[in-house]
């Protein structure tokens, strides 16, 4: 059983054309050559039968054996990937056989002379039109040589006698081979065309699906923005009352409280404020993402900006016992043109962070000229610093360095993401220089001449 199965497989392997996974065209050609070679084998086998019946010599079996050998050589060549070369060799080999057959059967008068059309057909359909033209020329030339030889009495006596029967066989074999070959070639092309059509259809379907998907993403995005806006409003309203009512209690609007009651009211206030910060962060992110933030370009005095920051952050610095300085380099212009709100927000967020993560030492802001076209501000703290591994992702959303930071400092880890988005939108750049144990410096550089503003 096993042996016979092995034999069958071996036989199958012997006759199957090679398949090239990466080249559909090559596979197709190899399959066609294989069929042609089988056709030739069948024809030469038939020739044996008929030659044994009509003329009694060994030419036909010899041709058959040569064909068999040629086929095996061709298979080996094709398996190695030389499909085009095999085709050229096959066509040349066929041509030589037909020259031999024509000469052996009496020259251009012989019905074998018509066989050249089959070779030319195969050459044209499998290799190229040019090759077909070359073979046509060669065939005409070979015929001319035979004609001249015949006229000059140089032609050998016919080895294969031509009878009406043999002529019928020869011409019919050519008809069948030619038709078979045309059929194969046309079917192959039709299949290729069909495949191309199907691929195009699939592609169009994919394009359509992609468009639909994009629309869905956009819808989801818009839905998210609306949801955030809505949730924001719905959260702020009760939060406002919570905060306000606790303050009413704390400030004695409803009568004076005991120290514990005051403390409890203060705790409500603290927690409400913490919740408020989270909502602000979330909303800010959403607003920037949906491009709702005002980016109005105005000219404003940098001294005013410094005063504002001082007023906002001095109390915080005092509370934490940190030194807080704001420096303005001498070569900076007095007024800056840019999206004032965005600048203030980016600065405030960076300062919020700096104060949040610095327990002792100083927080410094510096405004300076970076190059001819850019000015910059830097926020430096003497906090814990950011490890270099974390520096790579610190601007990504939800990336506070660890969970305990979230618990301790509040927020949902969007602070730096918001700053980065803001700076990007302002056409600026943000960089971070930090060393663990030494502190961090965030530098934001912005163009003196913002885009869309005439100089």
């Amino acid at each position: 059983m096993v042996a016979s199965k092995g034999l069958f497989e071996q036989l199958q392997q012997l006759i199957a054309p090679p398949v090239f996974a990466d080249d559909e065209d090559k596979t197709r050609l190899a399959a066609m050559f294989n069929v042609v070679m089988f056709g030739l084998l069948a024809a030469s086998f038939a020739f044996i039968v008929f030659s044994l019946l009509i003329f009694h010599n060994l030419i036909a079996p010899v041709i058959f054996i040569v064909m068999l050998l040629a086929r095996q050589i061709a298979m080996v060549l094709m398996r190695r990937g030389y499909v085009q070369l095999t085709g050229a060799l096959l066509v040349s080999f066929l041509w030589i056989i037909f020259v031999f057959l024509t000469v052996a059967s009496g020259g251009v008068d012989s019905s074998h002379y018509i066989s050249f059309i089959t070779v030319i057909l195969i050459a044209g359909l499998m290799l190229s039109g040019q090759v077909a033209l070359i073979f046509a020329g060669l065939s005409v030339f070979a015929g001319l040589v035979m004609l001249l030889a015949e006229q000059n009495g140089l032609f050998p006596a016919a080895l294969i006698p031509v009878t009406p029967f043999s002529a019928w066989i020869s011409v019919s074999a050519n008809f069948i081979l030619g038709a078979l070959f045309l059929y194969l070639a046309v079917e192959n092309m039709r299949a290729a065309l069909e495949r191309a059509r199907r691929n195009e259809h699939d592609l169009q379907l994919k394009v359509f699906e992609t468009r639909q998907l994009m629309q869905e993403i956009q819808d989801a995005y818009e839905y998210k923005s609306r949801l955030v806006a809505r949730v924001n409003h719905e959260l702020r309203t009760p939060l406002g009352s919570t905060l306000g009512m606790a303050e009413l209690l704390k400030y004695g609007v409803y009568g004076s409280l005991t120290p514990e009651q005051t403390e409890a009211a203060q705790k409500i206030i603290n927690n409400a404020q913490r919740l408020e910060r989270i909502i602000n962060e979330m909303l800010e992110h959403s607003r920037i993402e949906s491009g709702q933030l005002s980016q109005e370009i105005v000219s404003f005095p940098i001294a005013g900006l410094i005063q504002g920051l001082q007023a906002t952050f001095d109390p915080l610095a005092q509370e934490k016992g940190l030194e807080f300085t704001l420096e303005l380099d001498g070569d900076m212009p007095e007024t800056i043109t840019g999206p004032q709100d965005g600048i203030i927000q980016a600065l405030s967020s960076l300062l919020d962070n700096a104060f949040k993560f610095t327990e002792s030492g100083a927080v410094r802001v510096r405004f300076f000229r970076q190059d001819a076209e850019h000015w910059a501000f830097s926020v430096t703290d003497s906090g814990a610093g950011i490890p270099s591994a974390a520096q790579a992702y610190i601007f990504e959303p939800f990336r506070q360095m660890d969970e305990s930071a979230t618990r301790k400092h509040g927020g949902i880890g969007l602070g730096l993401t918001i700053v980065k988005q803001l700076v990007d939108e302002m056409g600026g750049q943000i960089t971070l220089r930090s060393q663990v144990g030494q502190g961090s410096t965030f530098t934001v550089s912005l163009p003196f001449q913002p885009q869309g503003v005439a100089p």
């Binding site: 806006a229 306000g244 709702q292």
Partner: protein
């Protein structure tokens, strides 16, 4: 005589907080929970400060705000707009005297309102 503050806010708890803050800041207060009623009332009184919530049922807060700004009789009135919508606050902040972004701290509002008292 104490200056008059009109508080227009449909959310009662919030209205109480606004009212208490303005009382503490030294104002006589009047609180209206409905935008239409507030519009009517504004034809009768000329408050020194109007705290106006922008999200009112039955009437657009922004529309009411524009009417107040257009009313020559209410020219001296200081308008504080209250909203939870930061984008809206951004848009209107140059047109009014003060934008109160909710949630609003009672103590902050008290301080701010005191600063806007006539004669301060």
């Amino acid at each position: 005589m104490k200056p008059l503050a009109l508080i227009v806010e449909d959310y009662e708890d919030q209205a109480i907080i606004f009212t208490k803050a303005l009382e503490r800041a030294g104002y006589e207060t009047e609180t209206i929970l409905d935008g239409q009623l507030a519009r009517q009332r504004l034809t009768e009184i000329a408050p020194d400060v109007i705290v106006l919530d922008l999200h009112l049922p039955n009437i657009s807060g922004v529309e009411l705000f524009r009417q107040i700004k257009a009313d020559a009789r209410l020219k001296t009135a200081r308008v504080f707009l209250a909203t939870a919508d930061a984008a809206m606050a951004d848009r209107l902040k140059d047109e009014c005297d003060l934008v109160l972004l909710k949630p609003i701290s009672f103590s902050q509002l008290t301080t701010l309102a005191a600063r806007f008292r006539p004669g301060e």
